[in-house]
Structure formats: C-alpha cells, structure tokens
C-alpha cells in the first residue's frame, strides 16, 4: 500500500496564548513539487519547524510515508530522509564550505559517530562532497570559512547542505530570497535538478519561481490553509486574490 510522502492532519501550534498554526490539513503525494505561499507571519516557517521536528506540535498528527513522526527529534526525522533548509542561513560557521558539505554527507554515508576512520581517506565521501561543491557553484570558495561567504553564497551552501544527505522529502524555506536574477535562475534550475523524483515542499515569495516550479500550491493565511490547488486554479481563486495575491506587487 502506498502512502503520501507527507500527511498533516489537523495540525495546531500554540506559543503560549498565540495560536499560530490553526488546524492545517495537507496531503503531499510522492514526487510532487509543492509550494506554500502566504503573507509575512502567516506561519509558513513555523509549519516547516513542526514538520522537521524543530518544534513539537500542540495538536494533530504528521505522517511521513505513512509513519507518524510527531514527537521525534529532528535528527531521527532527518534519518528518515526528510531534510530542510532554513530561511535564516544556518551553517557551521567556523568550518569551510567543503567541510560543511562533507559533514552534511557523513550520516548518510553511514559513518555515524565513528572515531577510527579518517575522513580524508574516504574516497566516495570526498568525491561526493566535491560534486556537490560543483553543483552549487562554490568550487572557488571551497576552503573559505562559511561565516566569510557573501549572502548569496551562504544561500547556495544552505541548499547544498540540505540536499547533501540524499533525502527524498526536501523542505526549502525561501531558497532564493535575496538572490539576484541570475542567481535565482540558477538556483531554480538546481532545485529542479536535485529534486528530480523527489518530494519538494517550498516556501517562496517570488511568484515567478513558484509558478515555474510548483505542481501544486497551498496558500497559508493566519495559520490556516485557505486553498490548495494547481497553479492556474490558484491564480484564479477569488479568496486567494483577496487574501494574498491581490494585495501586493508579489503577484507580478
């Protein structure tokens, strides 16, 4: 029996008295590229934090490939091949770009907590880290400390770190925010490429990117999903236009 990649049932999140996520239901089938849009403060990042285990949910249920994952710590969820990126860059600051990528590969390559193997002599590991480096166009920054990278390069490394472990469900939180046009174009192409045959859930403000990549779109407003549909239908949805698209220049 096959399950959806991700199923959220009546998910709630409260921070004290603040009710931020207010009953979200969402089914994302295997292999779909799904975009979540919505105004600032709607709870998009919070939703990612709940799915990835960073925060506990207050109510409801989250299933990954049919298996309940709510309550699991982030590293156990990650080992079930769900990986996420962060809206605010979240890297290993005092390590080089290459080291960041290699660390992101270690668990997936089965090294665990081993202290009897030298990373330098692990051929497959290093080759894959180099390929990843090439993929995110940071070869010439290979030995630069992450904290010294430009903003755009940090965003690229953020994506690289997220896709490194070979997850099959990938959550990207505003991957192209702050990138130039060329950088965005390249990032979109990269995202397409690395999420081939995978499930992608992406929060994005750039509507060009959203309508370009997404198979379906969900609109989150004040902690509730007011519509989930294919891009053309979302464009034409009156409630969405009223609540979101119609209000800003984002709709371009």
């Amino acid at each position: 029996m096959s399950h959806d990649a991700l199923t959220l049932t009546n998910v709630h999140k409260r921070f004290g008295p603040a009710h931020i996520i207010r009953g979200v239901d969402l089914n994302i089938p295997e292999g779909e590229r799904h975009a979540i849009i919505g105004p600032n403060g709607a709870g998009k990042s919070t939703l990612f934090n709940l799915i990835s285990g960073r925060f506990d949910i207050s109510d409801g249920e989250i299933r990954l490939h049919g298996e309940a994952i709510n309550g699991l710590p982030p590293h156990l969820i990650n080992r079930k091949k769900l990986s996420r990126s962060f809206q605010i860059t979240n890297l290993f600051q005092r390590m080089t770009v290459f080291e960041n990528l290699r660390c992101a590969l270690l668990w997936a390559h089965g090294y665990g907590y081993s202290f009897w193997k030298m990373v330098e002599s692990q051929k497959a590991l290093n080759e894959e880290a180099e390929q990843l480096l090439e993929k995110i166009h940071l070869q010439d920054k290979r030995n630069t400390m992450a904290s010294l990278l430009s903003y755009a390069d940090q965003r690229a490394l953020e994506i690289g770190t997220t896709i490194a472990g070979g997850a099959n469900v990938i959550l990207l939180d505003e991957p192209t925010a702050g990138m130039s046009h060329t950088e965005t174009d390249y990032a979109v192409q990269l995202i397409r490429e690395v999420t081939e045959d995978k499930t992608l859930i992406m929060v994005e403000h750039d509507m060009g990117v959203v309508f370009d990549i997404a198979d379906r779109i969900s609109v989150l407003v004040y902690g509730e999903i007011i519509a989930t549909d294919v891009p053309e239908k979302i464009r034409g949805n009156a409630r969405v236009q009223e609540a979101y698209l119609g209000t800003g220049e984002d709709a371009a």
């Binding site: 982030p74 590293h75 005092r94 390590m95 668990w107 907590y113 202290f115 770190t161 472990g165």
Partner: protein, 432 residues
C-alpha cells in the same frame, strides 16, 4: 621536474616532508635532556609532557567541542588514583602488569568516569554544561574526603614505582632515575598527541566541530548533538586519565587536590593561553605555564597573581591565545610583509618593559609589606635595594608605572598603524 616514476627515495622524501613537523618535534624532545641536564630541568620537562596531554585532552572539549568544563581535573585525578592503586597492586603481589603500560590504567579509569559523568553533563551545552561540570568537580572533591580507602584522606595515596618496575617491566628499566621517567612520559605524550590529532580528522572529530559551531544544524544533517558531545567527552576523559596516570608514576603520590578545582582551573588557563583555535595551541600553553609555574614560583610569592593577570590580558587582548598570535603573523611572514611590523614591535618593547617594571614593583612591595615579618627591611627589586615602607619607593614605582602606561598607549598605536598598513596591502593583493 623529473620525468621518471617516483622511486623509493622519492617516497621517503615525501614522507619526511609531510611529517617534518612531527619528526622535528620527536628529535627535539629526545635531545632535550642532553641540553638541560640538571635533575630539576628533567623533572620540569617531564611535567610539561604530562600537562601537554592533559591540556590537549581539555581542548578536545573546549576548542573542538565547544564545551567549557570547570571540572576536567576529575578525570585526570581519578586516572592518577587508579594508576597508583594498580601499581600498589603489583607491589602487593595482587597482580602483575608492566609499569610502562600503567598509564593505560589511568586512561581507562578516566574513560569510565568520562562515560558516567559525561552522560549526565553532555545532555546540555553552553552554560548548563559548564555549571554541571563545576558541580561534578565539587561532588568528586567532596567524595575524596569521604572515601579515604581510595583517596587516602589528608595524606593521599603513595606508591613506589621502582619496586613495581622490578616486578614487571617491558624494557627492564627500574624507572628510578628521573631521566627514565622523562622518556616514558615523552613516548606516551607523543603517542597521545598523535592520537588526539588523528581524532580531529575522524567523522566524530569533524562533527564535534560542527556541533560546536551549530548544534541545531547538526541535528538536521542526522546527528544527535548530545551523542557527539558524549563521545567526545568520554574520549577526552581517557586522555585526561592517561595524563593523570603519567603524573602518578612521576610523583608517586596523589592527594585529593589533584582532582580539585585548582587543577581544573589550571588546565583551563593553560589551554586558553596557548590558544583553543589551533591544534598545537594547548601544547604551547602547557609548556609555557608549567615553566612559569616552576620558575615564577621560585622568584616571587605573587606568581599566582601574575598568572591571573596574564590570563585576564589574554582574554581581553588576545582571545585566540599565543598560537592565535603566531598564526596571525603567518600571512605577513609568507608575503614578506613582516618587516613592516618589526620596527613598530621594536619600539613597543621598551614601553612594555617600563610598564612591567612599574607594575611588578608595586605588586612586590605590596606583598613584601603584607607578608614580611619586618616590612621595613630592604628588599631586592630589579637588582636595586628598596625599602617598601618608604613613601618614595611607592611614588617612584607609581611614576614608572604611569609612564609605562602612556608610553605603551603611544607605541601600541604605532603597532596598530603598522598592522593597518599590512592588512591594506594584503587586501590590495587580494590575499585577505
């Protein structure tokens, strides 16, 4: 460039070049006892070797894992006590075990307690971790007063390594002379240093850095930060215990003090002053501080105060320690820009000395007055006979100090400008 395939000698040269630093260090430590031949130097150098291992084990926590421990002497001391009991066991005929391998007993003791206490303390990082380590340090120090069979109470536990070595020794030495101990320490210290270095290159070592930088992100690449800290902590306990074992063999006695707060503070200072950001930093710190402890304490009763002042200055002005200062000069050295810094440094030396003379005079006179039976008796200060109870002595010392402060401010500005110039040039050349 040679076209021929690399032959044996080529490989040997490659090996020598690659490990040149390690080989040089090995040669130096083997030759040192022929240069500093006195008993006290050899015993000081042995102690340096022990402290190098202890400080490196501490930096596995602080520098590599981002764990600030106030109780690392627990593992050092416990390792030492286990070693003493193991040696006494040989002397009692309870078992037989070569003296050369006794530090392993200390290491395993440190590892065992590293696992036990590490499980508790690595649950959290940051301030919580630091406080738990302090608590465990106090707890073990208090236990040492209670379990006198194991810790020996006031008098501590003592042993005789020579009778144990006569009972069982791999190389047939009796380890009576200090020089035998020196070589025993050096071999173990060298081995431990290599192992601790190699550990930094393993998946665990890399992830220890990652968890230090960003424990949260480590979770999102599949690692449990607590397990990373725990494994790193346990292994660090092993090397601390090994150092404690060497210490026990060297001094043949340990008291509860050796696992107490002062010893824990001491290793923190050594490691920090040497520099926590670079692998060899703690080695420099351990050697320098051991030397200062030995030589300053012979010179002045106020040595702990100087020690504290030095630590405060490092924290404020050179947070990356001595190794950090050295590495800062690496790029200027490589690019030939060092010569632009040297004149400013030369000018800064004299004001610094003046400042030090003034400060030391004030401290020493203060100490003299408060500790001497006859404060008005003249004392020697920088080869001058001074009466500390005379107001003029204080005025002059104060004037020297103030002059030193102003001269330093002036000359350090020059140093700052020289650095600005060097950094600008480096940026122009696209190197920084």
């Amino acid at each position: 460039m040679q076209q021929t395939a690399k032959s044996q000698p080529g490989a040997a040269v490659g090996f020598l070049r690659r490990y040149s630093l390690w080989i040089a260090a090995a040669v130096v430590v083997l030759v040192l006892p022929y240069i500093f031949t006195s008993g006290s130097s050899i015993s000081m150098m042995s102690q340096m070797g022990v402290m190098v291992v202890f400080a490196l084990s501490y930096n596995m926590l602080l520098g590599q894992g981002g764990m600030l421990s106030f109780g690392h002497a627990v593992y050092f001391g416990l390792g030492g006590f286990f070693t003493l009991h193991a040696i006494n066991g040989v002397n009692n005929g309870a078992w037989s075990f070569p003296l050369e391998l006794m530090p392993l007993v200390g290491g395993l003791g440190g590892l065992a307690f590293g696992i036990i206490f590490g499980w508790i303390s690595t649950k959290r990082a940051g301030v919580t971790f630091a406080l738990i380590s302090l608590g465990i340090g106090e707890l073990v120090a208090a236990s040492a007063q209670m379990f006198t069979d194991f810790f020996g109470g006031e008098g501590g536990i003592s042993t005789n390594r020579v009778t144990a070595a006569n009972e069982a020794s791999i190389f047939g030495f009796n380890y009576g002379p200090q020089i035998d101990i020196y070589y025993l320490v050096v071999v173990w210290a060298f081995l431990a240093t290599i192992l601790i270095y190699l550990l930094t290159k393993t998946p665990l070592g890399r992830m220890a850095n990652a968890v230090r930088d960003n424990p949260e992100r480590a979770q999102f690449v599949g690692y449990n930060p607590r397990m990373v800290r725990f494994a790193q902590f346990s292994l660090s306990g092993f090397f601390a215990g090994l150092a404690g074992g060497l210490f026990a063999i060297m001094f043949e006695i340990l008291t509860a003090e050796n696992l107490g707060a002062i010893q824990s503070g001491s290793v923190l200072l050594m490691t920090y002053i040497g520099g926590i950001g670079i692998f060899f930093g703690p080695i420099i710190g351990a050697i320098l501080i051991t030397w200062l402890q030995t030589s300053l304490s012979a010179f002045s009763e106020a040595w702990v105060l100087y020690f504290g002042l030095m630590f405060v200055f490092m924290v404020m002005y050179a947070p990356f320690g001595i190794s950090g200062i050295i590495m800062q000069h690496y790029l200027p050295y490589k690019t030939g820009l060092l010569k632009r810094l040297l004149p400013a440094y030369g000018i800064a030396v004299i004001p610094t000395l003046i400042l030090l003379v003034g400060a030391v005079s004030i401290v020493e006179m203060g100490y003299h007055i408060s500790t001497s039976y006859l404060p008005s008796r003249p004392m020697d200060l920088f080869w001058v006979s001074v009466v500390a109870t005379n107001a003029w002595s204080w005025i002059i010392a104060g004037a020297i100090f103030v002059a030193g402060v102003f001269a330093c401010r002036w000359s350090y500005r020059k140093v700052g400008r020289a650095w600005d110039d060097v950094n600008e040039t480096l940026v122009e050349r696209g190197l920084a």
